[in-house]
């Protein structure tokens, strides 16, 4: 019988530290950070080896939230996977829907009506706004700004989620896009509300920036922390704001020009140093560019149908073949690779999740920094564990 207190569970280990000639000069501490650590944004664990407070080794451990997304999708109809894609990156269900719909549309050869394309752009940019707003809230919370900026972010996010709910029926698990269009049309009233939100959002961003951008604590904690060099970012196939913060001009909205992104006038903000502050700043600037896109899209949206008349909801059986649909999700390149063998369910279904691939270089960014900085660096990567583990 184990008496209480006889054996305390430890989540750390002490490793010997030796000098160059082999003589003992101290100890390393191996700490298992997570899976319930509040800074890990979900169930995610880091095995960190520490020299004092300095990180000398870091191993990300994930898979706690694995739920067989790809295999489930291979066993149900094409339509049936759509609500499951909501649960990948549960902050941005609209963009997940879009990426999957894009892949199936390529596979089945469906065209999307003009109005639906505009609605998709509006939804994707609203998603980007709310994702980046919340991410910055979480990111500064990891630095110790407990609550306040995050609550402001959530207040604004709720307005966007209200818009999502009034059109799709759900706040987060929207399940809104369909192959060949979108599920239901937006009302003129909704467009007025969206315009109102877009016009007010700039004011909120100004306020948010007054609160954060030049804050001395934020500068001290983020500048020069977690530097990701251009070469490493490209070699590790990092995408999204993280890649652009390292100074690589690569945005799928400009490169791939999927949907109707060639019609909008917007810039791609780039960072210079690739540190966490640049990642923060790139996201702020991206939100301002998103507002520009939204203003143009809400101004130009035509009337018309929102579904391809050829598209049918049930019993979609694309011809045998393969397709890769990718979009610039708020976190990076989100791609769906589908192989069809002519049946009602895909033969192969593969997700290229941006936050999983962005997470792979966590060690390279954290080495040499303090353990408190790993939390900030992890926050700046912008991961959602639903997508990392799938």
């Amino acid at each position: 019988m184990n008496a209480v207190g006889e054996r305390t569970s430890q989540n750390y280990e002490i490793l010997p530290k030796t000098g160059e000639t082999g003589e003992p000069i101290g100890e390393f501490l191996e700490v298992s950070m997570g899976p319930q650590h509040p800074s890990t944004h979900g169930v995610f664990r880091m095995d960190v080896v520490l020299d004092g407070e300095k990180v000398v080794k870091l191993k990300p451990v994930f898979g706690y939230l694995h739920r067989n997304h790809e295999k489930i999708a291979e066993n149900i109809s094409y339509l049936g996977s759509m609500p499951y894609t909501d649960r990948l990156d549960y902050f941005c269900s609209m963009t997940n829907n879009w990426a999957y719909a894009l892949a199936v549309e390529k596979l089945a050869g469906l065209a999307v009506p003009e109005r639906a394309e505009y609605i998709r752009v509006i939804m994707a940019e609203l998603t980007r706004l709310q994702n980046h707003t919340c991410l910055i809230g979480f990111f500064v919370q990891d630095m110790g700004a407990l609550g306040t900026p995050l609550m402001y972010a959530f207040r604004e996010r709720e307005k966007i989620l209200d818009l999502f709910e009034s059109v799709s029926g759900a706040r987060m698990m929207c399940n809104y896009m369909r192959f060949g269009g979108v599920r239901c049309d937006v009302t003129p009233d909704w467009l007025v509300q969206a315009k109102q939100l877009v016009n007010d959002y700039g004011k909120f961003l100004d306020e948010y920036e007054t609160l954060l951008t030049e804050n001395e604590i934020l500068l001290a904690r983020s500048q020069g922390v977690g530097v990701l060099s251009r070469e490493l970012a490209v070699n590790a196939s990092i995408t999204g704001p993280m890649l652009r913060a390292s100074g690589v001009n690569y945005d799928l909205r400009k490169v791939d020009r999927y949907g109707i992104y060639n019609r909008f006038d917007f810039k791609v903000p780039l960072g210079e140093h690739g540190d966490t502050y640049d990642r923060y700043m790139v996201r702020i600037l991206e939100m301002r560019e998103s507002l520009k896109i939204l203003q143009q899209a809400l101004r130009d949206i035509p009337s018309g149908p929102v579904m391809d008349p050829k598209a049918k909801l049930r019993g979609l059986r694309p011809k045998a073949g393969e397709a890769y649909g990718r979009i610039e999700a708020p976190k990076g390149e989100l791609g769906f690779y589908l192989i069809s063998d002519g049946m009602a369910n895909p033969y192969r279904y593969r997700v290229r999740p941006p936050s999983f691939i962005n997470l792979t270089i966590l060690e390279d960014m954290c080495l040499g920094h303090r353990i408190a900085d790993t939390v900030v660096i992890l926050g700046s990567v912008d991961i959602v564990l639903g997508e990392v583990d799938r």
């Binding site: 149900i76 109809s77 339509l79 049936g80 996977s81 759509m82 609500p83 499951y84 909501d86 306040t148 402001y152 207040r155 709720e158 209200d162 709910e165 009034s166 059109v167 799709s168 029926g169 759900a170 698990m173 399940n175 599920r183 239901c184 306020e207 007054t210 609160l211 954060l212 030049e214 804050n215 001395e216 604590i217 909801l313 049930r314």
Partner: protein, 190 residues
């Protein structure tokens, strides 16, 4: 000056704090169980079955075609077809579900059953306070719990219900006209 921006940030916080006493913009929360927000018209929670008229057995629109059972992504619907037939709203004899269960502990509120239903028989409810201490039976909704009148549907989703009513009325009128024409043709032939 070091700390200047922190003070500016504090001013923002103060503005938000004191603003929350006067401005609805800055105080967006409500005290939930006592205060409630009106749900959005399109809000969806869990499915329910629509019935016309007063009799929840006779008026059930579902004809047990099992399309929703097949299409449901998490496979939370269970249907057993009836042996006999009953007349539907057009007067045609149709099967009806002898058993219709939805396990809402599995349901993910995706609305696909509603979209694929050709008979407008299953719709999304807005009821969300369904928590129960019962681990096993409490979240398994059977046919009698699922069946709700069309008036209820009209109340929770007015726009969508009006469109459905119009379409069904049109179909019924067409079916009646056709039956009348057929009857007239029959009498003329005699």
């Amino acid at each position: 000056m070091l700390g200047e921006q922190i003070i500016k940030g504090m001013a923002v916080t103060a503005r938000n704090f004191f603003g929350s006493y006067v401005s609805k913009e800055r105080l967006t929360t409500v005290q939930y169980p006592e205060e409630r927000l009106t749900p959005k018209e399109n809000t969806r929670q869990f499915p329910f079955l629509v019935y016309d008229g007063d009799d929840r057995e006779k008026g059930l629109r579902c004809v047990a075609c099992q399309i929703c059972e097949k299409e449901c992504p998490p496979q939370c619907i269970y249907i057993v077809k009836s042996k006999d037939k009953k007349p539907d709203y057009k007067g045609q004899p149709q099967l009806y579900p002898a058993t219709f269960d939805i396990d809402i502990s599995v349901c993910m509120s995706c609305q696909i059953c509603v979209e694929v239903c050709p008979f407008d028989a299953i719709k999304m409810d807005t009821e969300f306070e369904l928590s129960t201490g019962d681990r096993f039976g409490g979240l398994l909704l059977t046919k009698d719990k699922l069946a709700k009148p069309n008036e209820y549907y009209r109340r929770i989703h007015p726009t969508a219900a009006a469109a459905v009513d119009e379409r069904l009325a049109g179909e019924k009128a067409r079916a009646e006209a056709k039956a009348k024409a057929a009857a007239e043709a029959k009498t003329a032939a005699l």
